[in-house]
């Protein structure tokens, strides 16, 4: 579907910034508007843009399906592990087991920060996978 040079170049320049913005939203989720889900959705939007401008086949070369799918499962396993660690350490399931840190810093707020990272990964990979599967139809 590579018929427009304009689309190709603009998206190529834009995508890194979109992905960077997604990462920012994820890592500052406990400080500013945004969070794991929102940032993950932005990541997936960037990858979807790649799919639309370069075609799914090309995109899958950069992000192989299997690897994306495995990292989705891994992210979920780690989220579950975060919950179970709390249980093992004698706190409650999904209880915070990390120091809260100083409010306002980037790594602070205990495990909320890490949960944000994991959920960002999970949502980003998950929605990308849905997009890959649905868009691959047309090719």
């Amino acid at each position: 579907m590579k018929d427009s040079e304009l689309v190709d170049i603009v998206s190529r320049k834009l995508v890194p910034f979109i992905l960077l913005f997604g990462c920012y939203l994820i890592s500052h989720g406990h400080l500013s508007p945004g969070g794991g889900f929102q940032g993950g959705a932005v990541l997936a939007a960037g990858i979807t843009l790649l799919c639309l401008s370069r075609g799914v086949k090309d995109t899958l070369r950069t992000f192989p399906m299997r690897r994306v799918s495995l990292s989705e499962s891994a992210a979920f396993l780690m989220i579950l592990a975060m919950g179970v660690i709390g249980l093992v350490l004698g706190r409650r399931f999904l209880g915070n087991f990390l120091p809260l840190g100083e409010p306002g810093q980037v790594p602070s707020a205990g495990f909320i920060f890490f949960l944000n990272l994991l959920i960002g990964l999970k949502v980003g990979t998950g929605i990308s996978l849905v997009m890959f599967t649905l868009l691959r139809e047309d090719e």
């Binding site: 500013s32 508007p33 409010p103 649905l134």
Partner: protein, 142 residues
């Protein structure tokens, strides 16, 4: 005013669900209903204040607690975050199902689909296997 608009949005979605025959349009209508509910929750939360529930000023003491009373209820917002994700998942699933249905039945019109399904159920014995590929219960072929 706002509540009435939200109600109108909700009813619009229900109208689409009841009256539209295209599967994709039904999915869209479902999304409209869900959006109306999301707006409703967030609107209720916004009634108890006017500032975003992000306590930046708590980081700079002095400006202080004055504004705490003016913060919106953060709970509905957090709940709706969950609902939005679930809505996305449902939409993805429904669209995939619709695509598969189109592939197997060749139409997206619910009335034709239901007619075809009823015919499948009541179809006379093997005399008329549709195009030879009518997927029966499958176990027979093993």
């Amino acid at each position: 005013m706002a509540p009435y608009l939200i109600l109108a949005l909700f009813l619009l979605g229900i109208w689409g669900l009841v009256r539209k025959d295209n599967l994709i349009k039904k999915v869209i209508a479902l999304n409209i209903v869900n959006s109306a509910l999301i707006v409703l929750f967030v609107y209720m939360g916004s009634l108890s204040g006017s500032t975003a529930p992000i306590l930046v000023e708590r980081l700079h003491p002095g400006e202080g607690l004055r504004r705490l009373a003016d913060i919106v209820d953060p709970l509905p917002q957090a709940l709706m975050l969950t609902d939005i994700v679930i809505g996305i998942c449902l939409t993805a699933l429904a669209l995939t199902l619709a695509a598969r249905i189109y592939r197997r039945f060749g139409t997206l019109d619910i009335r034709r689909l239901e007619k075809a399904a009823a015919q499948d159920d009541g179809a006379p014995p093997p005399a008329s296997p549709e195009g030879g590929s009518r997927p029966d219960d499958g176990q027979s072929g093993e």
